[in-house]
Amino acid sequence: MAQAFIELLREKLPDAVVSSHAEKGGDDVVTVKRERLVEAMAFLRNDPATDFKLLRQIAGVDLLTYQTESTGGASLAGREGPAYEPRKKSPVEPRFQVAYNLYSITKKKSLRVRVELRSEDLRVPTVTSLWRTADWWERYIFDMFGVQFEGHPNLQRLLMYPEFVGHPLRKDYPVRKRQPLVPELDFPDLVRGPGPGPGGAGVPMSQTHVGRQNVDPTTYD
């Protein structure tokens, strides 16, 4: 496992490492301070003892609803609630995580370096100077989560169009909130549900196959 590399990192930059743990299934995760990210990454990449030459992916996680989300099961138990405290939970902070999945081809080891971000301050230094491939991954994270990568040469949306407002992979972005570029024909449709009209955006999954809202019932026989 990659614990040895984390120890190396701790020795080299003792104040950069916030914490580290091993996930189930053997993923080693080290959380580093945002301010020391580039330094730590440079060490991990360039030091022959670590040699993480391959940046596989940068992933983002939005923890907004991590504790509070319910999938519908056991909702009855939830309704009763514990007798002594209100159920409402505070939002999770730090809300965002940016995870860098690294790999060392020579050492055959993986490591995940993680940065935690509070929702009011979404800035991370860029690592494009270390890995060329970080360019698009950081653009991807910026596009999907709105994390600002400071010093990135060309921080623009990667997948969405420039007119798009918001960051779709954030948990508070409604799944069906579409922002059309071309005026769409909004015709009543039994199967497909409403078009992009009022109420058509952000309707829950359960509604998609009902499709009768916003439609004058007299248009059907």
Binding site: V175, R178, L181, V182, E184, L185, L190, G193, T208
Partner: protein
């Protein structure tokens, strides 16, 4: 069950779609004169339809997974060329049939619209696969819920992706549709001059036939 009203702004409907429904509105009883005019026109129309349906030049607007099955439909085993759709033209100006092969997302939709607008009349559109027909199971912020929200579609081929046989079936259906529609030299909404000219011809033909 009665038909659902499909509302389309009139300007967006191609000639083919506007004409398609007229066949049903032809009165059963025809006078001799009108019959004789209909005879020429119908035969001309049939001939044009036959010619058009058997030489469909397709423009494969390939975006996604359906492209794999499009390849299969085009290649040796299924060979879409057997049905006159011989060779894909990769430019819209040379194509009759726009095959929307795969998911159209919102970023892509202006491109699709422009490609469609660049095609010359008469033109037909086939929604190849579920995504192009209805958005499929990609019901989210990124995806257009069917290409027909942007451009009119003639034939919908279901399947995710459709098997090549289904594609061929869709092509045959389109051919039937092309054959059945009325082909004319002018559009239905004739300009006043053309309408006047037609009227003159009609009276001329009436004189010719001794009436």
């Amino acid at each position: 069950m009665s038909r659902l009203p499909i509302l389309r702004p009139e300007g967006n409907v191609p000639e083919s779609a506007r004409l398609g429904g007229e066949e049903n509105n032809v009165p059963v009883m025809l006078s001799r004169l009108e019959d004789s005019i209909g005879f020429f026109e119908r035969n001309l129309s049939n001939a044009l339809g036959w010619a058009r349906k058997n030489s469909i030049f397709q423009y494969p607007f390939v975006t996604a997974c359906c492209g794999m099955e499009y390849m299969s439909a085009m290649a040796g085993r299924y060979d879409i060329a057997r049905f006159g759709a011989e060779f894909p033209r990769f430019t819209p100006r040379q194509a009759d049939l726009l095959m929307i092969v795969g998911t159209i997302n919102i970023k892509q939709s202006p491109v699709l619209k422009r490609v469609y607008d660049q095609m010359c009349e008469p033109k037909w559109v086939m929604a190849f696969g579920v995504c192009a027909s209805s958005g499929g199971f990609y019901d989210n912020y990124a995806t257009l819920q069917g290409a027909d929200r942007v451009i009119p579609v003639d034939v919908y081929v279901p399947g995710c992706p459709p098997r090549p046989e289904q594609v061929l079936d869709g092509l045959k259906i389109l051919q039937d549709k092309i054959q059945a529609q009325r082909h004319r030299a002018a559009t239905v909404e004739r300009s006043p001059e053309i309408a006047q000219r037609d009227q003159q011809r009609k009276s001329f033909l009436g004189k010719l036939l001794g009436k």
